[in-house]
Amino acid sequence: MSGLSNILKKEIRELLTIQTFLPIILIALIFGSMGNSIHGITEQTKTPPIIGLINEDNGTLGNITASVLHSAATVVYNGTTDADTQQGLTTVQQKNGAALIIIPSNFTTDIQSNKPGSLRIYWVMKGAGLFDTIPSSTVEYLITAANTQISKTLITNQSVNATVVLDPTTRIETTIFKNREFTGLSPTVITGFLSTQSLLIPIVMMMIIIMAGSIVITSMALEKENKTLETLLTLPVKRTSIVTGKIAAAAFIGLILAVIYMAGMSFYLGGVTSIGGTSIGNLGLALTTQDFLIIGLSLFITLIAGLSLCMLLGSFAKNYKSAQTLTFPITMLALIPMFLTMFFDYDTLPPALQALTFAIPFSHPMMAPRLLMFHDYVLVAAGLIYVTIFAIITISIVVWIFKTDRLLTGSTSKWAKVFKLRRRRPF
């Protein structure tokens, strides 16, 4: 065997491990599922939006607008008077529609009098994730198409007023979301605001978990590598104290990091005091002191749960190198809910993804701000209870591992056989 092939064989044997491939396999799976989601979103944009339409205007321009909407949308309700509004809205909500559009009786005459025609739009918003606004964006696109058609008609008739031709309609918008009405705001504006306000916690949570988590895992690995763990375990100190001490120290450091990070972010968020000219307090979207305390509690309990999980993973780390690999699952668990809560609302997720999101402890403080803005205390409380139970169970497992040989001898022979890992016998 030549020198090159000898080295090649040895290097490949060393690199060909589950630890090398698992992260890449997981990334591939995540990209695959993201690709499926994006494909679903692409399909969603191709589907005509579902709307309700009340056309009170018998004029040409009102009919043109109605015609454009009929041609490109699935109109589930057709009305002719303002009195139909409530019924139309109910139908749109029942049919999972995006909006009820009302063309008022003076629509054509206003435009012909060089005043923009007012379209009244009742948006039915299902979720506040970035992808949840796709149906309303499609309707907005149709309104733009109707505007273009009106502009063409005005130019053809040579009744040209530049301002009106360029912008022939205005909107009087009301958005209905989670049984609340937001007058003067579109779903896009509300989503933008909610994203800004609820962006802080997911990022902070992710940063803390990754940083504090890697501290715990690395600490465990170094204890094993330097054999300080063996000394520690023979000292008159309870296993529970060792586990709790390590988790509490990492949580403390994590919280310091969080405070530093949040200080910067709060300056950024402090600038947002109103949306669409209305103060967030008047819209009922401001978080109260009690809400902030609940978010803080959620963040703290989740941090403890996350660090317990890191401790559990760290107990399997053999050395510093393997510890680096073990931080990967934690990073992924922090990233998945961060992206899910960014792109979707919990309510609009498919049941399987809802279950996954709920099962990942890090999701709960990420979802908490938005849930609290809409007074959904049940889900927040359920999350707190779940994460507390998760933390207790995980800590109990870690303490149990600390009382067994597994901490020092590594994986059990059963698992080693499953993964066909070659285990060095400890002497």
Binding site: T228, E230, T234, L235, V237, D405, P426, F427
Partner: protein
Amino acid sequence: MTATVQVTNLVKNYGSFQAIKGITFSVDEGEIFGLIGPNGAGKTTALRVLATLLTLNGGTATILGHDLVKDASEIRKHISYLPEDAGAYKTLTGRAYLQFIANFFEAHHARDMVKRGIEIADLGARIDDRVDTYSKGMMRRLLVGRALMTNPQLAILDEPTSGLDVLNAQEIRKLIKTTAEKGTTVLLSSHNMLEVEYLCDRIALIADGRIVEEGKPSALMQKYQVRNVEEVFIKVVHQ
């Protein structure tokens, strides 16, 4: 004389591999007892079991009259374990490391323990330097200081002079002797037969997880008509 350590038919398995195949021995109070054998014989496993780090799969063991399985927490108050190739927390100074360990014991003894640890380690001004700047010999002396500063009733030392130069090894051997003279029982492992001959009151030769011979070094040398323990071991293994 009271037996500080009493081991009867001790068995330890790692999955399907049997590392200790039923060993029996006892160590008397104030005695230096050596487990002697080649690499992989089961010395470290036996010491780790007796140091309450690993669980046993068969047999019984008592330390200072306490059952190893039922009273592990109580045993930890009275023993001290020095693993082979052990390290210390690299961000601490030698003194801070000794203080950290002493804090696990009764508070009013902590100051005396640290003082004793510093004396045993004998690192001079370097005791206030970070541990990661220590040489291997300095590190081992610090760890021996750590292991013996608590005045344990039983010191379990795994290859205490492993990897040390002649001078450092000699100093540590003297330390162990002095500690035993003051009443501490010492259970150590070594594959250095000459060291064992110098240090141990009694030895047990262990091979392939079994004790193949036991007794005082001088008695064993006489029994096998050889000049040193190394030759005893070779004769016993070849039998």
